[in-house]
């Protein structure tokens, strides 16, 4: 594993520098991916060393789909011929996913503030209103609670709405509807009504956006029974998860991150979805399991470079599914490395990390050689000042220190 990594170790640092634009070629760790062509039914797992794991225990196998993200070596070889797939930025991947689903199913519609004529505050819905009309891409007044409830009512009566919170933090105003109706109505109606809604929006700590625009709502929503939560982190999984979320019969809360919208990657041309309940193996390793999601994935990968140079071999998993946790992928990793570090942007108290620690301890305690470490954001409202904001979230240096401590 280490050999493969060093072979492509020339990848530049993914730092939290002012520039938001990243090149996809840096993601060259041959991530182990799960693909599903049909809605969540089956897939094959392509491992980094080329072994194909068909029929992982309990799941039905499907056709093999080759690794869609080109590795550096593949790029070099294929430079003369046309490369598969097309390159785009993360927000374009989201838009593509949305557009394809809207074409595929006329019941899919979008509602939110400035999603129509303005094209979305982060341009995720750009061009959709022109193509599908003002009713299918609905510009709502500023009434989160009510238009989220409206989306739920529409979902109950046959549509498949995608509700956008202009910033995830605004969804706090819709908490009543999300908690009481979105999560509950399938149950309290005895299974009569389904709510196939997707509630999405940008969240996370950005660049000096101030406390209220820098919120992480994963922790607030995670207890709500009846909903699923996913967090995207690459253009590939953004599009795949978006499509899966829209096709799912369950209500899904889809977390995007303000700083990741300009990530660039080459993604397949053909239709694909990513399984909503699965985690993503970013970098296989032997020494320590690092669990992360969303933007922290990049801080972890940056730290991983340093760690590899110091001789460590971290296994990095992007958990992607914040609720429910993919305990299979996580468990297999824990059984292999016996050490776990969680790196998240959520607050320390009652966050995703806290739940993950509980789940791992409950299920895999025997396999642990050391207590689980969790690096989360500080329990403070995100300060405006850049220097303070920087130390609010976890930085790569802290991750390196934590791994060193864990692996003593």
């Amino acid at each position: 594993m280490a050999a493969i990594f060093q072979g492509v170790g020339a990848a530049a640092a993914l730092s939290s520098s002012p520039s938001n634009s990243f090149d996809s070629k840096k993601f060259v760790f041959s991530p182990c991916r799960s693909f599903s062509v049909r809605k969540g039914a089956s897939f094959a797992v392509v491992r980094s060393d080329g072994r194909v794991n068909l029929n992982p225990k309990g799941r039905r196998a499907q056709q093999l789909i080759s690794n869609a993200v080109a590795t550096k070596s593949d790029n070099a070889a294929a430079s003369s011929s046309s490369k598969p797939g097309h390159e785009l930025l993360l927000f374009e991947a989201l838009q593509e996913g949305l557009e394809e689903e809207m074409e595929r199913d006329p019941r899919v519609c979008v509602m939110g503030e400035d999603v129509g004529h303005y094209g979305g505050s982060y341009k995720v819905t750009k061009g959709l209103a022109k193509k599908f009309g003002d009713l299918r891409v609905l510009d709502t007044p500023i009434a989160e609670n009510s238009f989220t409830g409206m989306g739920i009512g529409a979902a109950m009566t046959g549509l498949r709405p995608v509700v956008e919170g202009m910033n995830m933090g605004f969804l706090l105003l819709a908490f009543n509807q999300i908690s009481n109706n979105c999560g509950m109505l399938h149950y309290t109606s005895g299974g009569q009504f389904t709510i196939p809604i997707v509630i999405r929006g940008p969240g996370g700590v950005g660049r000096q956006l101030g406390a209220e625009h820098s919120q992480r709502l994963e922790s607030y929503f995670q207890s709500i029974p009846g909903i699923q939560m996913v967090a995207c982190s690459t253009p590939y999984n953004a599009k795949g998860l978006m499509k899966a979320a829209i096709r799912s019969e369950n209500p899904v809360i889809f977390f995007e991150h303000v700083l990741l919208y300009n990530l660039k990657e080459r993604i397949p041309d053909e239709d694909y979805i990513c399984n909503l309940e699965e985690a993503e193996m970013v970098r296989p390793g032997e020494h320590v399991t690092i669990l992360t999601y969303s933007r922290m994935r990049y801080h972890v990968m940056q730290a991983a470079k340093t760690l590899v140079n110091k001789g460590y071999d971290p296994e990095v998993i992007d958990i992607r599914s914040l609720k429910p946790f993919d305990l299979y992928t996580i468990g297999n990793s824990v059984k292999k490395t016996h050490r776990v570090l969680i790196v998240e942007e959520c607050m320390r108290t009652g966050g995703i990390g806290a739940s993950l620690i509980a789940a791992i301890t409950e299920n895999f305690n025997d396999y642990l050689d050391a207590p689980i470490m969790c690096l989360s954001s500080q329990d403070v409202p995100t300060p405006y000042a850049g220097t303070l904001e920087e130390v609010t979230v976890v930085q790569p240096a802290q991750i390196v220190t934590a791994v060193e401590q864990l692996c003593q």
Binding site: G153, G190, Q192
Partner: protein, 432 residues
């Protein structure tokens, strides 16, 4: 005309029933109990001098419907508002609502149902007047006071009673309870415990109706949604937000306010700066109508117009029904704050007695006809109780079945299988 002068006009009327049960004296502007004269006063409040019922103007004329009814009645050849069949249908529905709720009270005190149970006695005219005009595909959204809305919409009494007893044969498999009545078949979209929560859902259902017509090209889709809620809800943000959106997009919805003057122990007049709720419709660009909610025929006339408007694509309407609940807020409410005189006043306007009188006086039905209906309904309600009694309670295996529509949402367990594939999952003993 501003409120102050109107108050002056109303207070000079000879007959007024003051809600002097108000023990707080910090609200000087006390409107007298709205009486039939209040509706007459409303006519004086109207800005336009026209007395015609004009609901088509976008500015939203505020109108007292009793005027319309009076006009109709004053024609030389008195025409009746309903046929015999319609009359009996309305009577039966109201009797069903009343008998069912009375039985609920009995069953509650006998320990057959628990929790919060909110009874609808006295308000039957609103439910019957509106819902009996709907088709099966039209939707109804209600609040926690939803038993009678469910019955009027067509949910069998057996299913509602079983749900209240918490049995698997209930309309929601015993998982919803008194405050969460749902029926996909009859398009009853709930049953909500928090007030105002259902209004956006109703707006969404109306949005779907418009979407189906315009995007999915189901050209004849003219489904209408009715949202029922109370006076307390009309001070809640969701109410105003939805009035705005419904008027903005001309959604096929009717907002029906069941103004029974009390939100548990909070008098409407103590909670609201302008207690005339119907006036809030025109502020958002839809007609606002006030109607006597103790008279099912008046309610039905207004409902016809409002539902017709929605069906024709002309947009929403706000209808304020002046009504009253004969019992407390719920079966746990001692109901000590309301003035006995106020209660007596409304008891005298019992909608069922009024309809009975109308049917008999206009020779639409005989005493015998109505007694037969009473007996029939008694049997229906008794049967519902027996059915509910004999139905099984939910077994453990039902616990996790309806949390997700797609149970893969429970995730992947440590063994690599989806948790829902675990045989213990259906037994309800699996750990999720």
């Amino acid at each position: 005309m501003n409120s102050a002068s109107c108050a002056a006009k109303i207070s000079t009327q000879p007959f007024s029933l003051n809600p002097t049960s108000l023990t707080s004296h910090d609200n000087p502007l006390v409107f007298p109990k709205p009486t039939s004269l209040f509706l007459g006063s409303t006519r004086k409040l109207r800005l336009s001098s026209s007395s015609k019922l004009n609901l088509h103007r976008r500015s939203g004329t505020v109108v007292a419907v009793s005027d319309v009814v009076k006009q109709k009645k004053s024609k030389s050849t008195p025409s009746l508002l309903i046929t015999k069949e319609e009359g009996l249908e309305l009577y039966e529905d109201m009797i069903l609502g009343r008998a069912f709720e009375d039985m609920c009270a009995q069953m509650y005190y006998r320990g057959k149902m628990f929790g919060f149970v909110h009874l609808y006695n006295g308000q039957e005219a609103v439910s019957t007047g509106f819902i009996k005009l709907l088709k099966q595909q039209d939707s109804v959204v209600s609040t926690y006071r939803d038993h009678v809305h469910a019955l009027s919409k067509g949910v069998p009494a057996r299913a509602v009673m079983s749900e209240l007893f918490g049995k698997t044969t209930g309309c929601c498999r015993g998982q919803g309870g008194s405050m969460h009545m749902f029926s996909r078949e009859h398009n009853l979209l709930g049953g909500f415990a928090f007030i105002g929560e259902g209004i956006p859902v109703a707006t969404g259902a109306a949005f779907t109706s418009k979407y189906k017509r315009e995007i999915l090209k189901e050209a004849d889709c003219d489904h209408v949604t009715l949202a029922f809620f109370g006076d307390g809800t009309c001070n809640n943000g969701q109410f105003f937000e939805c009035l705005n959106m419904a008027a903005l997009w001309k959604l096929p919805i009717v907002f029906v306010v069941e103004n029974n003057l009390w939100a548990i122990g909070m008098s409407h007049l103590r909670a609201t700066s302008d207690p005339q709720i119907y006036k809030k419709g025109p502020a958002f660009g839809m007609p606002g109508i006030h109607v006597d909610g103790m008279d099912v025929l008046k309610v039905r006339e207004v409902a016809k117009e409002a539902i017709g408007r929605a069906r024709r694509g002309e947009g929403p309407t706000l209808v304020e029904c002046e009504t009253y609940r004969f019992r407390g807020h719920s079966l746990a409410d001692p109901d000590e704050l309301r003035d006995p005189a106020e209660k007596a006043y409304y008891a005298a306007r019992d909608p069922i007695t009024a309809l009975k009188k109308y049917l008999i006086e206009n020779s639409l039905a005989s005493e015998a006809d109505l007694k037969a209906i009473d007996k029939k309904i008694d049997e229906v309600v008794e049967d519902a109780v027996d059915f509910a009694d004999e139905s099984p309670v939910p077994s453990r295996s039902q616990l996790l079945e309806n949390v997700f529509a797609d149970p893969k949402g429970f995730g992947i367990g440590p063994d690599g299988r989806y948790r829902c594939e675990d045989p213990k999952f259906t037994e309800g003993t699996a750990h999720v």
